[in-house]
Symmetry: C2
Subunit: 522 residues, 2 copies
């Protein structure tokens, strides 16, 4: 048994079922071992940004880490943006990166790069294997780390893969997450009983039906308010589930949402700050006289903390308001291109809420057009909503692939709400969706500009001239996502009206396999 | 004048004409300054891998650095693979990366990342601006560094851009590259006069008509042999120019090419090593009894060294053998899909040599199918050939865009020799080619597999099973590059025979603007 084979045996023994792969020469012995030893589903991705984003969403969908298989150096580099997103979302990934053989690295061959240096800041666990005999143990350590919700990077020099003498590693137990001390619960309960203006800020793994019921019980009893972080890895939403709004993205709205709060209570959340700094505006979103308290730290079990707090407060489970499921929005009359009416975000969100199948998974990289969809979709069938927690552009399509791979066979449909500009950072994801015939509906929100940046540019206080528009407009030529999809084997159609969108959405939800809708919004 | 405006004034004063841009919110004041102050051509790229690869080729084409404009953190990360290639090719780039405002960074907003850490290993110059007053000076320093042929990364926190008090920097002189000492020249001349088996290994900037004539003069006089490095940033080739072959890529052929050499003389080249290690094979390509000498180090003027050596040896300029320009290869009879004859690499190279316009620029990411093109193209019209020196996949299409932007108005056509698998790492480059109507012919060599990896897999000693083929084959579904090109506004056609290829090549060379040919080779 060589090192690579011991690695595969370890992956299987420790419950890893799926590898999102983009291999190169230095990983060939690992590929061969995956071929020889059955038990791992290997999903080819056409670049590493797809592989890393897919692994992130696999964790969010299943609660289990997938592995990546990345090429040395620059291969890892291409994965960093989506690993950044995964780090911010506290996803677990077993991030396996090939590398030059240990004795070859000092020769500085052309592909040799600072693999460890690039991996360090995104990895909660980072190790470079040193021998075939210890690769199995290294992998078991990495998997144990990943299962706690972190990126565990294992760098695999080629000779540690091909040398004989591999020993499979054994699974490690995954410790339960710590719970806050009874004193913390008591202190927060006392605080909430004072009636001073307080808000619970939820993040992490608390945004489940159970967690939200507890939070609603607490706020109904104490008069505190409730928000979720601006970007969240995973939210359980829809009919029958307790609704929650998020901190708005635009800086002024975000500050307004927290105005008057004297006590902010964090539950697996961070103190809220502006996504960016703006001249003359504060960085922290909390008012100056607001005190920040921590009910559950990022690594603690916030749901257990909410349960303990609700019990201490003797808070009864409140009635959950029922938002009726809307009917599809037919929009303004379609006047035909080019004089057709612009399509409103509210209309798209309403139709989505009306038509969404039960237990769907929404992957939201809707950027500016999609930003307000949340408010109009509480009445949809129960569903899971995943955002891009790190804000690195290009996460959406890879995540959609990873969620759909994870959901294969479950009957759950994945719906990708995807802005056009950001889609182009990882468009090759479509090919993997086609190859795997994933149950995935992609809605490209095509406004043919970087609308978020035009808005920010307006904030700078100037009208954009030709040079600025050269950098902010996506027209000339227009992207044609129907053709791009066809080029990668995906059925697709364009919609320029709400009725057309409604028909395409419903049809795509009724059929197996992937479908892309290019919605011209402008 | 704010910091961003001082930066733009500095860029212009120091001769920067072109910015390859993919901006985000933290760069809006820089975008606004570029808009207000005329003088910089801003080229929008749909992701950062395109921007960085384009800037690399701009340097290689013009000898002048372009600037990038990259978004903070993950934006830089997406650029690293092509910055790696640029570093290995010793290209000069002014790599401008936005970042969180200095006072906002400690708040750890979601997009905050280890920008400096990621940039360090690819940058010969790295600085984070600290105030608007010093951004201009920082930029002048960065440009001076880039002009020596290195990546100069300037990180621009948003507040250093928007704050008033900017002061434009002044251009710095660029020092001449050092020349080797007279003693070095004398020693190498003495060595060569012994007649022991010796080889000149050329790299860096020596692969020009002038440098190659000098090298041929030396080898004709001394009996030494001559090779270029395996991957080179820029080679002047074609009719009337002295031919040179490269060290082969496959490990066995590479070792064979250096067998028997007792003295290897480096001229802006590195001691040759295997691209990867292989079990039981040496890492260094030179025989054990070969001594390595340095005529010109990587940072020295190798052409001046060759001139001094030729003069010392009193070597007359040799006659350059004339390779006749071939006629287009018509290949085997086209039997029609799917029974058509496979297309041979030699045939494609021969047709390219026959039809190539004068002074074309070839961007070579032909990987396995294109690897042997060099030998069949010495008879082409004079041209420049650029490879991917760092071996990071996905350099080709971005480089083609950058070279074509740099060549705009010169009448030079850029020809991209592009493998299908690697094209998908940076396919969004096509859109910029369409927007700028670049004079660019892209030949996609579509074998619909990762052929290089199948070859390497065979070296592992096994036939690939289903799982391995899942990771090495690009079929199911086939990529359709004609549709992908159309989706980004590029005219394109498929060729399945040599006559069809010949017609499309000739036609594309006769017309302005970009054209893509998908050549089905298998």
């Amino acid at each position: 048994m060589n090192g690579a084979e011991s690695l595969v045996h370890t992956l299987i023994a420790c419950g890893i079922t799926t590898v999102f792969a983009n291999p190169g020469t230095s990983e060939m012995h690992f590929v061969a071992a995956l071929d020889r030893i059955p038990g791992i589903d290997c999903v080819l991705c056409l670049d590493e940004t797809v592989a890393s984003g897919a692994a992130d969403a696999f964790w969010r969908t299943t609660g289990r880490p997938a592995a990546t298989l990345l090429h040395c150096g620059p291969g890892l580099a291409n994965a960093l943006a989506n690993l950044h997103n995964a780090r911010r979302g506290r996803s677990g990934i077993v991030n396996i990166v090939g590398d030059q053989a240990t004795y070859h690295r000092p020769l500085d061959a052309p592909l040799t790069a600072d693999t460890e240096g690039w991996a360090r800041s995104v990895s909660g666990f980072l190790r470079t294997a040193t021998s075939a005999a210890t690769v199995g143990r290294d992998a078991a350590d990495a998997i144990a780390a990943a299962r706690t919700g972190t990126i565990a990077t294992l760098i695999l020099p080629a000779d540690t893969a091909w040398t004989e003498g591999g020993i499979p590693g054994t699974p490690r137990p995954v410790p339960n997450r710590p719970v806050p001390s009874p004193a913390t619960i008591t202190d927060i309960a006392t605080l909430l009983r004072t009636g001073e203006p307080a808000m619970l800020l939820l993040g992490g793994r608390t945004l489940t039906d159970h967690g939200l019921r507890l939070a609603h019980a607490i706020t109904a009893t104490t008069g505190a308010t409730l928000l979720a972080e601006v970007f969240n890895a995973k939210m359980e939403r829809g009919q029958g589930r307790p609704p929650i709004e998020r901190i708005p993205y635009p800086i002024d709205a975000a500050i307004a949402a927290l105005t008057g709060i004297r006590h902010l209570i964090l539950v697996e959340a961070k103190p809220p700050v502006g996504f960016f700094a703006y001249p003359g505006k504060p960085g922290a979103l909390t008012p100056p006289d607001c005190t920040i308290h921590t009910l559950a730290a990022l690594d603690q079990d916030g749901t257990a903390a909410l349960a303990a707090l609700a019990a201490t407060l003797d808070a009864p489970e409140p009635a959950i308001p029922v938002t009726p499921r809307p009917t599809p929005d037919r929009g303004a009359p379609d006047l035909g291109t080019p004089d057709r009416a612009p399509i409103a975000p509210e209309a798209v969100a309403t139709s989505l809420a009306a038509l969404l199948p039960h237990d769907a998974i929404i992957i939201d990289e809707g950027i500016s057009f999609g930003r307000g969809f949340s408010r109009f979709t509480h009445g949809a069938a129960p569903h899971t909503w995943m955002q891009v927690p790190g804000g690195a552009i290009g996460g959406g399509l890879p995540m959609a692939v990873g969620a759909a791979v994870a959901a294969t066979g479950s009957g759950r449909r994945v719906v990708s709400i995807q802005a056009d500009g950001s889609a182009m950072y990882s468009i090759a994801a479509l090919w993997t969706a086609a190859r795997r015939n994933l149950d995935l509906t992609i809605i490209i929100l095509a406004n043919r500009k970087y609308a978020i940046l035009l808005h920010e540019y307006a904030g700078v206080g100037a009208n954009p001239g030709r040079t600025a528009m050269d950098m902010l407009d996506l027209g000339n030529p227009n992207l044609d996502f129907v053709k791009l999809a066809a080029g990668m084997g995906i059925n697709a159609a364009q919609a320029t009206s709400m009725p057309a969108l409604n028909t395409l959405l419903a049809s795509s939800f009724d059929h197996k396999g992937p479908f892309l809708i290019e919605l011209l919004t402008g």
